[in-house]
Symmetry: C2
Subunit: 370 residues, 2 copies
């Protein structure tokens, strides 16, 4: 985050920064979604929706789960939230008592830990590496589950590694969580952004899984702040109570736009194809520069690279190349502690042209930063 | 809340319900604001804003504080939130450690207590009555402040009573909070909806006051989910960290619309005038029916009535008149515990025509409910 601020400072000073540190699509929201928002503006109905969301959006998502994953999810179980941030604050506030705990992969999405701490509970960070494709495994879940553990989180595809979890392993984790009397929480925000493989929804394996997703990434709708969480029946009431208190409801206009988003296909596919092209280019070029990408990323827009061959401190390295080359990438420490000094994350949520320029700049400089 | 659900059930069965229980403007968002949102949609820039908000909105609000209250507030101190709900979760998460406490008026806005509990802290509910216009006083603040108390909250105009706090008292409370080493938190969401008097901003008396406000009420923008909180310098960093984690940012489009809202005057004044007309009608008619309105409400769109002359249980009374007359009002218990069984809240955020019909229905029935 400090590095992002420094990058912006340099930009303000007139330097061209290549942003490969940012987790936000560089594409504008598809036109069909914009048009739907304009129609909703004309309707004049911008009042609160029910706290659990616009019923039409809940129904549209229910249909979408049938089409997309062939799973039956009743609309009542789909709670509309202000982005996935809202979904996570909600579920942890509804699920956790002080002193309880949640199992998380390290490296992983850093905000998770803060949401859990805000709920007075303990994030248990479990080191994960290439052997499990940087995901939790059923074995790891079994090993770390303790009294008061309420759930294990899978981020699939992973942020920061872009790797998908093996379908069998996901199923085993779900079973392990059920047997332990807790939940699997599956963060599926990068579904739809996978390359040559389709990500599996946790609900395909476990109807009691908690699934978090949103419109920010696949549909390029970050600033709209709309996401959703699917919870099992027994959690609906607790979640509704929390929602009434902490959000009131997700933005009304964004919810209308989201209904249109679910019908959007062509532009989403074009964005996905563009990401894939960048991914392939970047994988090839980074390897040439000595970045070690141990497990091929098949999703999201991230590449997690081992930099042991280049530097012994990834943080110093990231600051160094920002200052020297104007290329911004994220040090491993932003995603956890496990071997974080040996890793960096590249985001390819920027144009291929920018990425090419970034690689060119790195070529001239990586040697000096070693 | 259960009463609201029952009202909706009755409506679904085909009964016409007069909604005087709802805290949401019945007016649509002014056209000038809708038009600004359409322009923003055409710009294609619906990416995240900084977590503290669109700098142009922060600046516009800074100017607005100068014009509206003649106070200087630097844009950096104005943090844009997803509604006032977002503002309260933010400030309590940033300010409170487990075991600390906040002083609140009882009756008051019920979500406050839940936000504070979510932060692991204790809401201290202080009974307030007609003698202090249903507000905290400096004396009460002094009396209830204890080790670990971090702030006292004033809701001005008050929900549920619609009463304004005396300006001198507000100043004394601010001084008392400062002397005690804590903050005054002033909830000003109903500013701009006052009748024959202007509400004073806490910052006029104390530049260290924390002020919460938003676009939902005065500008009829509930579903847009955009509000703000003004914090003293020393809290900005803590708040920014919480914001990055719990919201990412308020909805981008709504922030553009909010900039336009600050220029809107004519439609806001027309809405205010309509509320005032309803207020005057309702005050006169309720008095005739035996409702005792001890302190004249001068703000918001609420009337808080003592019903001792009519019933000895306001909750039973509210359920009874809903079933018998189809008029929905809110029992005192939704706002606290202090004498809540003797009070009800009427909202006049519904058309004068509806209110007239509601009064007509009550006239025929209130006797039977005694």
């Amino acid at each position: 985050m400090q590095l992002l601020e420094r990058a912006k400072e340099l930009e303000a000073e007139g330097r061209k920064i290549i942003h490969m540190e940012i987790g936000e699509p560089d594409f504008s929201t598809p036109t069909s979604i914009i048009d739907a928002a304009k129609m909703a503006l004309d309707s004049g109905d911008l009042f609160y929706t029910p706290s659990t969301g616009n019923p039409a959006l809940q129904q549209a998502l229910s249909n979408w789960y049938k089409d997309e994953y062939n799973v039956d999810v009743s609309p009542e179980r789909i709670l509309i939230t202000p982005g996935t941030s809202g979904a996570f604050s909600l579920i942890y506030a509804a699920l956790l008592e002080a002193g309880e705990s949640i199992l998380l992969p390290d490296p992983g999405y850093p905000c998770q830990r803060n949401f859990i701490r805000l709920a007075g509970a303990e994030p248990i960070n479990i080191p994960v590496g290439p052997d499990t494709r940087y995901h939790l495994s059923a074995e790891l879940v079994k090993q770390h589950w303790k009294t008061g553990t309420r759930a294990a989180v899978v981020i699939n595809p992973s942020n920061p590694t872009g790797t998908l979890i093996d379908a069998d392993e996901l199923q085993h984790i779900a079973q392990t969580c059920r047997k332990s009397g807790g939940y699997l929480i599956s963060d599926e925000i990068y579904h739809g952004l996978t390359y040559g493989i389709k990500a599996r929804c946790a609900l395909e394996f476990d109807e009691h899984a908690i699934v978090v997703n949103g419109f920010s990434k696949r549909w390029a709708m970050t600033g709209w702040r709309v996401g959703w969480i699917i919870v099992p029946e027994e959690l609906i009431d607790a979640c509704r109570r929390v929602m009434q208190n902490i959000f009131i409801a997700a933005p009304t206009l964004s919810q209308y736009a989201a209904i249109a988003a679910l019908k959007e296909q062509e532009t989403c596919e074009a964005m996905r194809t563009a990401y894939d092209e960048r991914r392939q280019y970047l994988l090839a070029e980074l390897a040439k520069l000595g970045f070690d990408i141990v497990v091929q990323p098949q999703g999201a827009f991230y590449i997690y690279a081992n930099v042991e061959n280049i530097t012994d401190d990834s943080k110093v390295f990231c600051w160094d190349i920002l200052e020297k080359t104007g290329v911004a990438i994220t040090p491993g420490e932003d995603f956890g502690q496990f071997q974080s000094d040996r890793h960096v994350r590249f985001s390819y949520a920027t144009s291929l042209e920018n990425i090419r320029e970034g690689i060119q700049r790195l070529k001239n400089t990586v040697g000096d930063c070693r």
